[in-house]
């Protein structure tokens, strides 16, 4: 549950630019359209203020005429013309907004979808071993919050163009009236941008703390509900709720700091507008007397300033958001681990308007003759694991790996399959070295069932098939001895299995996972201790079915007699090493350890012997 500090915490700013540029280029037409529409939307207020200033200019004119005793009619008529101008610009801004908004939503959610697709796609399909740096729940917050941050960053760019244009127009209009006042008013605005710049590292660290506190909360909620029956059975609900309360408290502190700082910056921003208006009044006071500044100019200044200050504030905020986006990219890159950050913004179809095509077909068949593992070493940080393991499995063999708890049996299988990083050693398939076991040792070459299989909240059928051909279903279900279960389930294969398969019993989950593996017709079947959730008879049925109906090669972790007695060869593991190998009779004859394992398992099922 710990959130390790980001090791490469400094994202070069140009990286955020480069990545975002690549991201925006995903739908270039839509991006440009957004720029154009939002540009118009942001510039329109300048035209509106100009109209208002002319209206009051004409009224001022009328005042002079009135004081001079002349007819005010021409000035008033001119004022009406500007009122009409005002009305037209306002109305068209409404139309622009309608189009611009739709375009933006489409663009935003498309990029959102692309980034999420890339993250998941990378984790699911790229070569090499993939292990999440944190809990799945924690990783979900990468998919939720960080992806949104990155996609929302488009807003900065799309708005920036329009707001920049507005600023240029506004400053030009003001400078034409009085350059000195313009400079004196704009200078503090620039100061403020510098101020925000200076604060941004602090913003960043507050923001990170806030995110981390949030991750701890979501993480904890996920963990709690992932283990909800354990919590309930232990009657520990209160303790869990109390822990959530304390995590929430930490997060509240982090959030309030974030709010305080953001508010301080916003305060400076908005204060500037009023200070600037005050300055205009102060500086203008003299000029009005001298007649160099008219009411119309004055209205223009007061009208243009708020949005101009807003723009400056906006750019300050944009810098902060840019940095935050950098943090989000960092965190997503961390999720990908060895993957380059460019993977996050790679262009792939996201199929938002039509269904995705069938996934790429399985890799080519390469019938197994011999699988040879040489000097494989894979250790955990704790020092446990597998050292220097060598063995081979030939076509049609049934090889059992056995040993005590913690002797490295599961680790050996997972290292061999490329599911965990390997320090040294090679895996050969028919004599040719396998460069990336994780992508090579998949169906139709090899398939694997883990000790505690993961199922997904979907129907039983979908869980078994997982993309396989429907025609293989019946046989897989039969071989996995799942048929008796189906008869018990109300909707048979269409039964929803619930979140992570909770609606099934432990044995049913295990058999479902075996069926899922068998539905893929692989040459090499790798079982990690399926016996744990199967009774001896079911297990024997499983092995017998496999022997009689398939010519599969099996590599099995087990300590059950049902498996040991059927083994062509047994590999005996002790303290992370393969200490012996041979037939059951040979091992019983020469290995003390094997005899200990065998004797202890005596009462546990001798079906195999009788066969």
């Amino acid at each position: 549950m710990t959130t390790a500090p980001t090791s490469k915490s400094t994202t070069p700013p140009d990286r955020t630019f480069a990545l975002s540029k690549r991201l925006f280029a995903y739908r270039p037409g839509l991006f440009v359209f957004n720029l154009f529409m939002w540009g118009m939307f942001h510039v329109a207020p300048a035209l509106i203020i100009l109209a208002v200033s002319r209206v009051f200019g004409q009224l001022d004119q009328a005042e002079i005429l009135r004081n001079g005793g002349e007819s005010v009619a021409p000035a008033i008529a001119a004022a009406w013309v500007f009122v009409a101008w005002f009305a037209v610009v306002r109305a068209s801004r409404f139309g622009v907004f309608y189009g611009a908004f739709r375009a933006f939503i489409e663009f935003w959610y498309t990029l959102d979808a692309l980034v999420r697709r890339n993250l998941l796609g990378y984790l699911l399909t790229t070569p090499g071993s993939r292990r999440l740096p944190d809990t799945p729940a924690e990783a979900v917050s990468r998919f939720r919050d960080d992806v949104e941050d990155v996609a929302m960053y488009t807003e900065v760019w799309i708005d920036s163009a329009g707001i920049f244009l507005y600023s240029v127009i506004a400053i030009t209009l003001m400078a034409r009236v009085d350059p000195l006042i313009t400079v004196l008013v704009c200078a503090p605005l620039l100061l403020m941008v510098a101020f925000v710049q200076k604060l941004s590292p602090t913003i960043r660290s507050y923001r990170r703390r806030m995110r981390e506190a949030t991750a701890r909360v979501t993480d904890f909620v996920g963990e709690t509900f992932g283990a909800v029956s354990a919590v309930k059975l232990a009657a520990r609900e209160d303790g869990m709720v109390a822990h959530l309360r304390s995590l929430g408290e930490t997060r509240r502190h982090a959030a309030l700091r974030d709010v305080l700082l953001t508010e301080l910056i916003r305060g400076v921003n908005t204060n500037m507008v009023n200070l600037a208006v005050g300055l205009v009044l102060l500086l203008g006071a003299n000029k009005i007397r001298g007649g160099t500044l008219e009411i119309a100019d004055f209205v223009l200044f007061i009208g243009l300033l708020p949005r101009l200050t807003g723009s400056m504030g906006y750019f300050g905020d944009a810098i902060a958001r840019h940095r935050r986006t950098g943090v989000s990219y960092d965190r997503m890159t961390r999720l990908l681990q060895d993957g380059s950050d460019a993977k996050i913004v790679e262009h792939h179809p996201v199929y938002l308007h039509s269904g995705p095509p069938a996934p790429p077909t399985a890799p080519s068949e390469l019938p197994l003759e011999e699988l040879r593992v040489s000097n494989l070493t894979a250790t955990h940080d704790s020092g446990l694991g597998v050292r220097d393991a060598s063995f081979s499995v030939r076509q049609g063999e049934f090889v059992v790996i056995t040993g005590r708890i913690g002797s490295g049996k599961s680790t050996l299988l997972r290292a061999l399959l490329g599911l965990i990083p390997v320090q040294s050693g090679t895996v050969e398939w028919n004599g040719r070295t396998v460069e990336d076991p994780a992508t090579f040792l998949v169906p139709p070459r090899s398939a694997y069932t883990s000790q505690i299989p993961s199922l997904f909240s979907d129907s039983l059928r979908e869980n078994v098939l997982s993309g396989s051909d429907e025609a293989r279903l019946a046989r897989a279900v039969r071989l996995a001895v799942l048929e008796p279960d189906l008869a018990q389930l109300p909707q048979g294969l269409d039964t929803p299995v619930g979140a992570r398969g909770v609606k099934l019993s432990g044995g049913q989950m295990q058999r479902t996972a075996v069926a899922r593996m068998l539905a893929r017709d692989a040459d090499l079947l790798v079982f990690d201790d399926v016996s744990s959730a199967l009774d001896a008879r079911t297990e024997a049925q499983l092995w017998d079915g496999l022997f009689s109906e398939t010519d599969s090669t099996c590599l099995v972790v087990s300590h059950r007699r049902a498996a040991l007695t059927r083994a062509d060869r047994i590999l005996l593991m002790q303290d992370g090493r393969i200490v012996d190998g041979g037939t059951l009779a040979e091992l019983l004859d020469r290995s003390e350890e094997m005899r200990a394992l065998w004797t202890d398992g005596e009462s546990q099922g001798q079906g195999g012997v009788k066969r």
Partner: protein, 603 residues
């Protein structure tokens, strides 16, 4: 350890939880009334100052138009005063935002806690329907949407409403006709906005629903990454993701479009409003009714109307999101556990007898034609004895034990512990006395200590260490670099070690009844030997049910119960059954194995 009185199982008589928006506001903002009052004071002052600013501008304009005759000293004073007021307004707003956020976070933290407590009190039928990812979305996602609502609502909505009322009052003061016109405009705008606001509620709910599905999908796939990859099913699941994401995309776009109608309407109406005020200003000036300064004042006040209505509209957006979230929170709070605790207490310390009387159970009580899992099961287990529960996979052994700890309730018949029907017993008290080691050990990705103590700070490290040593994990513990504070090494923990940890959890408690559901199923024989001693200590003086696949595991049992297809095939003292030649148990002993192939002793 006595159960704290605070959040015991939900009582049907408990006052109903807040289900309306106002109800939630009252419950969660009520305790913060002083902070809320401070917030109101800040907002009132800020609004008052804000309304003064345009007045200064009017005086300035009316003086300035005199041109050469203007009083420069007065103009400068006006300007200085303007700057001071502006700073005041800003300080008030910043203060209000901070206090608002504080209130919001405090209130929603409470709501999160209540929501989690409520969800945890629901029975397992509910939990089976939802992924942990979806739970995160419900407990945190929805509540965070509410947090914005809580903190922003007070500041922005209340502040905006004040400003709006103030501005309208000012219009009336200047010219009653303009006042009436603007009044009609404001009322019409608000009514129109409110009527289109509802357009967004349902799409927003669907959007959140889709978002919960999407993140639930992602979480499950990430948790099952190894399985997916080793089966070469990455592409298939990626496609599944794309389909789920497409639904999310479609729902989100639709929901944003519906919600944006509010903004569009606001822009259209304000185009009309501004033109109206400008027309009034020019018209009244031309008629000579108002001065140039007042004409400008009218235009300025219009922005004081626009700002709050803009705010209100934006907050309507938040209000919609919050409304949708509230609806879902209400939905959850309305869920009632089908399993209620009673008020009875289990008899004091020591072992308890266990009795099943004509117990029938089905997971789907609504479908009577389905054959239930348990059928008319009756047996009696005297206090302090151990029952060996035998039967084929799927015969209902696990289900039977779940009725004791009341993860489920019997469909008919009764389960009695120490003579008391378990349905009459306080749920917490019951579960504290009944310890269960399940087939599937659920661990947290947290420290070893937290895994055993369930985050209870009152359990000392020493107690945790002692429990670990007792189950034979002493050497394992010695290898951990930070002792019990080491995060549980995810992935490198074997299923056997997980089982041992589950044992240690039980060791930390002092239960009266112990249920071991296939405790040794994941242990290799050598490791199981480690447990045997600990198990004997644990079972001494306690009532126990052991489900096992090994005959020597049940050799310690006083009684044997053989279950077949949900019915009791055989029940009696072990020694007696062993002596009856044709008993199932005796046949098993002869066969030397519990689950013989072919003949189907237990079938």
């Amino acid at each position: 350890m006595p159960a704290p009185a605070s959040t015991s199982s939900p009582d049907p008589a408990e006052p109903s939880r807040p289900s309306s928006t106002l109800g939630v506001l009252r419950v969660y903002l009520g305790p913060l009334k002083w902070q809320v009052a401070g917030l109101a004071a800040l907002l009132l002052t800020g609004t008052g100052l804000n309304l003064l600013l345009p007045q200064l501008l009017r005086t300035f304009v009316d003086n300035a138009k005199l041109g050469a005759g203007a009083d420069v000293g007065l103009l400068a004073r006006l300007a200085g005063f303007y700057i001071l007021l502006a700073i005041g307004v800003q300080l008030m707003t910043a203060g209000a935002t901070y206090v608002g956020a504080r209130v919001g976070w405090t209130a929603t933290n409470r709501l999160r806690v209540d929501l989690m407590a409520h969800l945890l009190s629901l029975d397992m039928r509910e939990h089976k329907e939802r992924t942990p990812g979806e739970m995160i979305e419900r407990v945190d996602g929805d509540v965070t949407a509410l947090s914005n609502f809580f903190s922003q609502f007070a500041v922005r909505v209340f502040g905006a409403a004040l400003l709006l009322i103030g501005a309208m009052f000012m219009f009336f003061r200047e010219d009653w006709r303009v006042g009436v016109g603007v009044g009609v405009f404001v009322v019409a705008t608000l009514i129109a906005m409110n009527s289109v606001r509802k357009l967004g509620v349902e799409p927003t709910r669907m959007e959140r629903e889709a978002s919960a599905k999407l993140f639930g999908f992602v979480e499950e796939r990430l948790a099952g990454l190894e399985d997916i990859r080793s089966l070469g099913a990455g592409g298939h699941h990626l496609n599944g993701f794309l389909r789920t994401q497409r639904t999310f995309f479609t729902n989100s776009i639709y929901s944003w479009r519906r919600r944006s109608v509010v903004w569009q309407l606001s822009m259209a109406l304000f185009a009309v409003g501004y033109v109206g005020v400008l027309v009034a200003a020019v018209g009244l000036y031309a008629a000579g009714t108002i001065t140039l300064g007042t004409a400008f004042l009218l235009y300025q006040y219009m922005s004081l109307v626009e700002e709050p209505i803009d705010q209100l509209t934006q907050q309507l957006q938040e209000l919609q999101k919050a409304g949708a979230s509230l609806f879902r929170i209400g939905e959850i709070l309305a869920l009632r556990s089908a399993i209620h605790g009673g008020s009875a207490e289990l008899p004091g310390d020591g072992a308890l007898s266990l009795e099943f009387e004509n117990v029938t159970f089905t997971y789907s009580p609504g479908e009577p034609e389905m054959r239930g899992v348990l059928h008319d099961v009756s047996f009696h287990l005297p206090a302090g004895q151990t029952l060996g529960l035998l039967g084929r996979t799927g015969s209902g052994k696990t289900t039977l034990t779940r009725l004791v700890s009341r993860l489920y309730d019997a469909t008919s018949g009764s389960v009695r512990l120490g003579g008391t029907n378990v349905q009459d017993v306080d749920l917490h008290g019951l579960r504290r006395r009944v310890a269960v080691v399940t087939q599937d050990v659920q661990l947290f990705q947290a420290s070893v200590r937290d895994n055993l103590s369930f985050f209870d700070p009152e359990i000392t490290d020493e107690e945790v260490e002692a429990a670990l040593r007792e189950v034979g994990l002493g050497t394992w513990l010695a290898r951990l670099k930070d002792g019990v504070h080491t995060p549980l090494p995810t992935g490198s923990l074997s299923a056997g070690e997980a089982q041992l940890l589950a044992f240690a959890r039980v060791m930390l408690r002092d239960p009266a009844v112990i249920i071991l559901d296939e405790p040794s199923s994941r242990l290799d024989p050598a490791t199981e030997a480690l447990l045997t001693a600990a198990m004997s200590r644990l079972l001494a003086g306690r009532t126990a049910i052991i489900i096992a696949h090994r005959l020597d595991t049940v050799a310690r049992a006083d009684r044997i119960l053989v279950l077949g297809d949900g019915e009791v095939l055989e029940d009696g003292p072990r020694a007696v059954l062993a002596g009856i030649p044709h008993s199932h148990y005796a046949e098993l002993l002869r066969a030397g194995t519990l689950e013989e192939e072919g003949e189907g002793v237990l079938a």
